[in-house]
């Protein structure tokens, strides 16, 4: 039963508050159209952009083009694998955006013409734009792993890196895994969507196995990289909760130790690295990523041929004028120090607000406000154990500046370096609880 009986009334109040807090322009039908913005892709980035454009100026006509009619949040979808979260809590439609006056079109964008400033869709629609926001997410490169293809990913070797049916398919395989079985999670070379995701997944699967009489299961993280996000926090939690290392339930093999999966054999259910052939019960290969195909086809992927470079002040593509690329498809941040934008939902939401503010200013003949980019990302490794990373980027002299003081992971220990003391369990439990509040707010801030 939903404990929030008054949720409907409350959501009405939220909507009303959103109106007064941000804008007092009445939502009159008579508002003249100042400009047309087309948004390609209805994930966190695209949905947030559409929402904030309408919040900031209802005189902007916004068309959101998205294939799917339901969206499943990737953040916290690893909790579905352990059974601790129902997938329906991650799902939403586009009705909230439509109510804000966003024209929601369920179709696939097949072409972007930056000269005529129009996009075309699979069913033959054409949509002209004054500004285009491209938020296609990532495309998975199945061909990069020998023996893998898109069909196998739909059956024997799911990636579950786009939440939805894939998540449920992987969950079924995990449930069918015998005690003493082995699961491989193959991690692609960075950058990939949700940097802490594979490691959170290992913990969630371990939690499931531990409480379902499968204490002898082995979860092997075969990683193309030499280190990973929130590493000291994950290693501490794995060790304390599930056993970590060659004798533990979770084991991590980095790139230098031959962690990269070169080939899979779906018939024999084996994974092959440069050093080893590994028999598995569940193979979860997360293939390497690049920017979503439409961005690549439109010539926007001008960074290493895979990602879309954008301008720090407003996320405009460096390849095409009046096209803004946000979310996992873009590349940004302080790359020179290794502090790039993480590919996260919260980051996409933040980038969307920057674009919306910049465009709303532009269409009103005003200077764009100075942007801020923020990220908060929680990982949940057990019901009562979570942690987070936060990022803050400012823009100085048209460059992103990573603000170290407003960034970083949860503490690994309390006390001093010389005399460390363990972080109280209540602290970890609070971050596990905050993760759920964060998810609900982030979904609301993008889709409502």
């Amino acid at each position: 039963m939903n404990p929030y009986v008054d949720r409907r009334t409350f959501l009405k109040a939220v909507t009303a508050a959103a109106g007064t807090a941000v804008l007092t322009i009445p939502q009159a039908r008579a508002v003249a159209v100042k400009a047309r913005v087309v948004v390609v892709g209805g994930g966190y980035g695209g949905a947030s952009a559409a929402r904030y454009l309408r919040l900031l100026d209802p005189g902007i006509e916004v068309t959101l083009i998205e294939r799917g009619t339901r969206y499943t949040s990737c953040p916290l979808s690893n909790e579905v694998l352990s059974g601790s979260r129902d997938i329906s809590t991650l799902q939403t439609g586009y009705g909230g955006l439509a109510q804000r006056g966003v024209k929601v079109v369920h179709d696939e964008v097949v072409g972007i013409d930056p000269v005529k400033k129009a996009v075309t869709t699979g069913t033959g629609g054409t949509f002209g734009y004054d500004a285009l926001v491209v938020a296609p997410g990532v495309e998975l490169d199945f061909g990069a792993v020998q023996g893998l293809n898109a069909d196998l990913a739909e059956s024997r070797i799911p990636h579950a890196w786009k939440a939805g049916p894939q998540t449920l398919l992987l969950k079924k395989q995990i449930e069918a895994m015998p005690d003493g079985g082995r699961m491989v999670i193959a991690v692609p070379p960075a950058p990939f969507r949700c940097p802490p995701g594979p490691y959170e997944r290992a913990a969630q699967v371990a939690m499931y196995c531990q409480s379902h009489g499968k204490k002898k299961v082995k979860i092997l993280l075969l990683d193309a990289n030499d280190s990973f996000s929130k590493r000291p926090l994950f290693e501490q939690a794995w060790k304390a909760l599930y056993g970590y290392g060659s004798d533990g339930m979770i084991e991590w093999i980095g790139g230098a130790a031959g962690g990269k999966v070169e080939r899979v054999d779906a018939e024999a259910m084996t994974c092959h690295t440069a050093f080893d052939d590994i028999q598995c019960d569940v193979i979860n290969v997360i293939p390497p990523h690049r920017a979503g195909r439409i961005a690549v086809d439109a010539g926007l992927a001008n960074f290493k041929g895979a990602w879309c470079a954008v301008k720090p002040e407003n996320m405009e593509s460096t390849a095409q004028k009046d096209i803004f690329v946000i979310g996992d498809a873009c590349v940004g941040g302080e790359l020179s120090t290794g502090n790039g934008f993480p590919k996260s939902a919260h980051m996409a939401n933040s980038q969307a607000k920057v674009v919306a503010a910049s465009l709303a200013a532009r269409f009103n003949g005003l200077p764009a406000p100075k942007p801020l980019y923020t990220n908060t990302c929680y990982s949940v490794v057990a019901h009562d154990w979570g942690f987070s990373v936060v990022h803050l980027f400012r823009v100085e002299n048209n460059q992103w500046v990573y603000v170290k003081d407003g960034s970083g992971i949860s503490p690994v220990t309390f006390g001093t370096k010389e005399k460390p003391i363990p972080v109280p369990r209540l602290y970890r439990r609070m971050e596990a609880e905050y993760a759920d509040g964060w998810l609900r707010n982030l979904m609301t801030d993008a889709f409502s």
Binding site: P3, Y4, D6, T9, F10, A13, V14, A16, A17, A18, T20, A21, V22, L23, T24, I25, L55, L56, D57, H346, N349, S350, K353, A357, A360, N364, L366, P369, K370, P371, L372, T374, T376, Y378, S388, V390, L392, D405, G406, S407, G408, S410, P424, L426, Y427, M430, E431, E433, Y434, D436, G437, W438, L439, R440, N441, L442, M443, T444, D445, S448
Partner: protein
């Protein structure tokens, strides 16, 4: 441009002169929305609503986090990236938003138990419904009860640095079984 739409644009943070261009409070506040909602109205039970809370309360808490005088978990890191002036501006901004309660229904026995605990431990500073707080206290009528339960746990834990003596004492004097009931009682208040 008509006068109404100019006013609207000012409210939307699009107009406001050179100072606003450099440090636009709407842009700053928007970074909080991801976790606390537009206007500081949270949609997630473990995250507090912050719109409509007193300016001094908000500014004090954020600075205590920034200088590690208080444990805020995730917030201790986030606020360190902002200047004291920015934190003051954020406190001012959210204090000007309307307080929107999120009334969460609780069973009658919980309400009864909660009310008795509240009248014993909380009423002096927050008011019996949580809507009549002392000058340095937040209003908590219709605040998310899950958030309040967790906050009470922090005040009751010896491991957490929580600087408000009166609140710490009141929280620690509560019977363990009353903590949740009090939080749920306040969470159920609509006004």
């Amino acid at each position: 441009m008509s006068k109404t739409s100019l006013i609207a644009l000012v409210t939307a943070g699009l107009v406001g002169g050179a100072a606003a261009h450099d440090n636009n409070i709407e842009v700053l506040a928007r970074t909080c929305n991801g976790c606390h909602g537009v206007g500081g109205v949270s949609a997630g039970p473990s995250m507090p609503s912050i719109g409509g809370l007193p300016r001094d309360y908000l500014a004090r808490i954020m600075k205590q986090w920034k200088y590690d005088e208080r444990v805020g978990v995730t917030m201790n890191r986030i606020v360190k990236g902002f200047s004291d002036d920015e934190l003051d501006a954020l406190a001012g901004y959210f204090s000007r938003q309307p307080w929107v309660p999120a009334p969460q229904r609780a069973p009658a026995d919980v309400m009864q138990k909660g009310r008795s605990a509240v009248s014993e431990s909380c009423e002096d500073c927050h008011g019996i419904s949580g809507n009549d707080p002392d000058v340095d206290a937040p209003r908590i009528n219709g605040q998310w009860s899950r958030y309040m339960e967790l906050e009470l746990e922090k005040f009751r834990s010896a491991d957490f640095k929580m600087p408000h003596r009166k609140m710490r004492r009141a929280a620690n004097e509560m019977k363990p079984a009353d903590v949740s009931a009090a939080a749920r009682y306040f969470g159920a208040q609509s006004r």
